[in-house]
């Protein structure tokens, strides 16, 4: 027992203990809300298991189909953009900046990928990378705007990114509608040479929409890790995040770094937009409102402690909650419980200080004995 107490009280472990506690408390709140509203939390977890593994626990022993690989494929379709927006928010966090604009950056990335795929005529080995990279560049541009405004005019990146989300929503919708052949809701199908779609992956997962976007995601995770951990630029970014005054004193270009950091953050979100278009959907979409990839990215980054690996874990968790939503509806539980759980986890992460104090109390009691 004392070993456990020591483990909990050890400040070194708080870094990963706090997110885990927040996740557990988030699920606890979700379960309690379900109980209070007359629903069985068991159904929530059954839906989650089915979303991740494709195994339908309810059908075990009934002779009905118990496993469907399609769910696994769709799970990763949900996870991929979440990891990328998570990386985006996390990257800005590292420099002490708050990127609430991932949502808009995703849209700009999606639009530019659509535009290049539909208007540029290149052979596949060049077109596909061009589509993906143009998405990243458009996202980077959308991130650079708040970055440069922060650097030059010291304008709050929080307010600017919120505003740019809406500007992005309306302008990309307008331009997507103006592309030749577009209807009021979507563009024509993109040429096959610009797609990440894969018959092999779809075949392996019972015709899911799983696509090669995961390669882009893996490269992005590695790029995040490399920039932050292995380059001088990354070191400067972290240093600015910890203490902008000391960094300035040490001769670092704090303003330039802020602008660049937001642009790189935007590039990650732009990639998310590009793989949504070229992998998941295969056409450009006119959006009625936000799809919340950006806001979920904030949650993913917070859970992941703003690290590359953490964002992957956060993406896997929130992807599971998102992928479970349609299954929840089949099980007759409101799908919105998933959002409540995500929001609760974020609230508990925000309570970091409170949880820390509670963890430190564990030690105090022990000393008293």
């Amino acid at each position: 027992m004392n070993k456990i107490k020591n483990f909990i009280a050890n400040k070194k472990n708080h870094g990963f203990l706090i997110p885990i506690i927040a996740i557990l408390l988030g699920f606890l709140v979700g379960s309690l809300i379900m109980l209070f509203t007359g629903l069985n939390p068991k159904d929530l977890f059954i839906s989650l298991i089915r979303a991740i593994t494709g195994i339908n626990v309810n059908n075990i022993g009934t002779g009905k189909e118990t496993f469907n690989a399609r769910y696994i494929g769709e799970y990763f379709v949900y996870v991929m953009p979440l990891i990328l927006t998570g990386l985006s928010v996390a990257f800005a966090f590292r420099t002490g900046l708050f990127n609430i604009g991932a949502e808009g950056q995703v849209m700009l990335g999606a639009f530019m990928a659509t535009y290049v795929a539909l208007t540029v005529n290149l052979p596949k080995p060049i077109l596909l990378p061009a589509v993906i990279i143009s998405g990243a560049l458009a996202g980077a541009l959308w991130g650079f705007i708040p970055g440069i405004l922060k650097a030059k005019f010291n304008v709050s990146e929080v307010v600017v990114t919120i505003m740019l989300n809406y500007v992005g929503l309306y302008t990309t919708n307008y331009f997507i509608r103006s592309l030749p052949g577009s209807t009021s809701t979507r563009t024509v199908d993109l040429p096959a040479a610009s797609l990440l779609k894969s018959d092999l992956l779809a075949g392996l997962t019972n015709n899911s929409r799983l696509h090669y976007g995961f390669i882009v995601v893996i490269l992005a995770v590695l790029a995040f890790w490399f920039i932050i951990e292995k380059t001088t630029f990354g070191y400067e970014l972290k240093s600015v995040g910890y203490n902008p005054f000391a960094s300035r004193y040490a001769g670092m270009k704090v303003e330039r770094n802020a602008a660049l950091s937001m642009a790189i953050a935007g590039a990650f979100s732009g990639l998310a937009g590009a793989i949504l278009v070229s992998g998941t959907f295969g056409y450009g979409r006119v959006l009625g409102s936000f799809e919340n990839y950006g806001f979920d990215g904030i949650a993913v980054a917070l859970i992941g402690g703003s690290t590359a690996f953490g964002s992957v874990l956060g993406g896997l968790l929130f992807g599971a909650l998102k992928a479970a939503q349609p299954i929840m509806q089949i099980n007759r539980i409101p799908r919105d419980i998933a959002i409540i759980i995500i929001a609760s986890i974020v609230i508990f992460i925000a309570m970091r200080n409170g949880i820390k104090m509670a963890l430190e109390k564990v030690k105090v009691k022990e000393v008293e004995k």
């Binding site: 005019f153 600017v160 309306y170 409102s289 409101p334 919105d336 959002i339 409540i340 970091r352 200080n353």
Partner: protein
């Protein structure tokens, strides 16, 4: 001329929730707590008011007004979470606000599903009616704009702006609240509780955002859906910045943003505007806010201590 008058009336109706919600933001930010949860709080208010009206209609007098109070109370209650996180636990106010916005989409639709068995509230009836006031509507110009085919809630926006101005600038409480957002240490040294002032600021912002959301849903909708508020809370946040954190400024900004929305609806009736897409007018308030921020950046207009946790020991 008819078109212009009806546009102006609609502008007033459209601006009401924006102005009232941004007043909420004003109280919170003046006390030093940034509140980007206005959008979510409007959703709670809109859902609460719509639900209350479904149940109250026909059984009590003044049902829509009571429904608004329910919406206000619901949002005020939720805003306590934001207050507790930012004031007691020194949480990052942006994270906490984001969490409440997320919570709003989840909770309101979940509750709608539990109470009404669908992804939205039941359609309510007996809501506010557009009224033309006799005598007053005969006043030239003013009568056509302010007293013809209009909701009574519009007047509430003007009353609240005046009240906010009076409270913030003419009462000792207002002075303390503003000081808490500028120099919390000075307020603390005078023996006024920074925590208490900030709690009041945040809860008032919750109540006003809830009222704004309630009015929006009861005057512009027939039921609450997840799309009911769709960004109005963020427009209110924009109005707060554009109005330079002052009651009269918020009123002006709110009216302007409302007008730009109405303009987009009417833009087809003006030949010189037909070339501009609707989306241009939708994006305009957000673009202008960014421009305003850049222009204001050289002057310090916003509350200085807003967004920073209060640390007694800090100098």
């Amino acid at each position: 001329m008819e078109t212009i008058y009806s546009m102006l009336v609609l502008t007033l109706i459209f601006s009401t929730p924006i102005v009232i919600t941004s007043l909420g933001g004003l109280f919170s930010e003046r006390s030093g707590i940034v509140n980007i949860a206005l959008e979510g709080l409007m959703m709670f208010g809109g859902f609460g008011a719509a639900t209350a009206l479904v149940f109250l209609h026909g059984s009590v007098p003044f049902a829509p007004w009571l429904a608004l109070i329910v919406g206000m109370a619901f949002a005020a209650l939720i805003s306590v979470i934001h207050a507790y996180l930012s004031i007691n636990l020194n949480a990052d106010q942006i994270i906490s606000g984001t969490a409440i916005n997320l919570l709003a989409t989840g909770v309101t639709i979940y509750l709608a599903q539990i109470i009404f068995g669908q992804q939205r509230t039941q359609t309510f009836s007996g809501s506010f009616r557009k009224t033309t006031y006799p005598v007053l509507s005969d006043i030239p110009v003013i009568g056509d704009i302010f007293f013809t085919n209009i909701y009574p809630t519009v007047y509430l926006a003007f009353i609240l702006v005046l009240a906010a101005w009076y409270i913030l600038y003419k009462t000792p409480f207002g002075l303390r609240l503003r000081a808490t957002g500028e120099h919390p240490h000075a307020v603390d040294s005078m023996g006024v509780s920074v925590k208490k002032m900030r709690y009041i600021g945040v809860i008032v912002s919750g109540a006003l955002a809830g009222l704004g959301g309630g009015i929006l849903v009861l005057t512009q909708d027939t039921q609450y859906t997840v799309m009911s508020i769709s960004g109005t809370g963020f427009i209110a946040l924009a109005a707060l910045v554009f109005g330079r954190w002052k009651p009269a400024g918020l009123l002006g900004a709110g009216l302007f943003f409302g007008f730009s929305r109405i303009f987009s609806i009417y833009s087809n009736s003006f030949s010189f505007l037909q070339k501009l897409p609707n989306e241009f007018f939708f994006a305009l308030p957000y673009l202008l806010t960014i421009v305003a921020l850049v222009i204001f950046s050289r002057q310090s207009v916003g509350p200085k201590a807003a967004g920073k946790a209060y640390d007694k020991g800090e100098r």
